[in-house]
Amino acid sequence: DTAVSQTPKYLVTQMGNDKSIKCEQNLGHDTMYWYKQDSKKFLKIMFSYNNKELIINETVPNRFSPKSPDKAHLNLHINSLELGDSAVYFCASSSRQGVGNTEAFFGQGTRLTVV
């Protein structure tokens, strides 16, 4: 039973396409995140949702739109993909903001390659 699962694991697509990455967590956490690991290996937060409400929105192009149908799911939709979007995207979740343990549980990552 995977705690945080994201699909697909690999995604190769052409420039200009629209794609989605799905994420689900079965930990009962209230907060979910999307991180991007760029070519320099830094993990950068993109979005954070708490109980389906957007609470963190970093400087991310508006081609990226997160969707949270319920607190167990946070999907990432990317429009008009560009070469620079190639990266590994990680979904994560944690317990309620500022309460208890704060560590995040990560999915296995989605390697997106835009050609």
């Binding site: 907060t31 320099k40 290996k41 950068k44 937060i45 954070s48 990680f90 990552g109």
Partner: protein, 112 residues
């Protein structure tokens, strides 16, 4: 502008010896710090954390030290084991915001 830096991209240590991984941060408002471990093709997994009210936290072979004045933390692994070979990420932030900044990782290789 990176708020968390891990200046050593890699570290090689002999099995049984101590591994010391370092991390620096720039924001003095950060009050919570975490270390994650990452194996290839997997997501990072939480290892150990420390609050700014402490200067040391220990969990088995893993100890994290925090030097607030220097804005520096380190992870000590004693004794190092081959299974510890992985990329280690440091993260720092304000706990109430649940927003953490990550470093670029240090790849640890523990040689048998």
């Amino acid at each position: 502008d990176q708020q968390v830096k891990q200046n050593s991209p890699s570290l090689s240590v002999q099995e049984g010896r101590i591994s010391i991984l370092n991390c620096d941060y720039t924001n003095s408002m950060f009050d919570y710090f975490l270390w994650y471990k990452k194996y290839p093709a997997e997501g990072p997994t939480f290892l150990i954390s420390i609050s700014s009210i402490k200067d040391k936290n220990e969990d088995g072979r893993f100890t994290v030290f925090l030097n607030k004045s220097a804005k520096h933390l380190s992870l000590h692994i004693v004794p190092s084991q081959p299974g510890d070979s992985a990329v280690y990420f440091c993260a720092a932030g304000k706990r109430n915001f649940n927003k953490f900044y990550f470093g670029s990782g240090t790849k640890l290789n523990v040689k048998p």
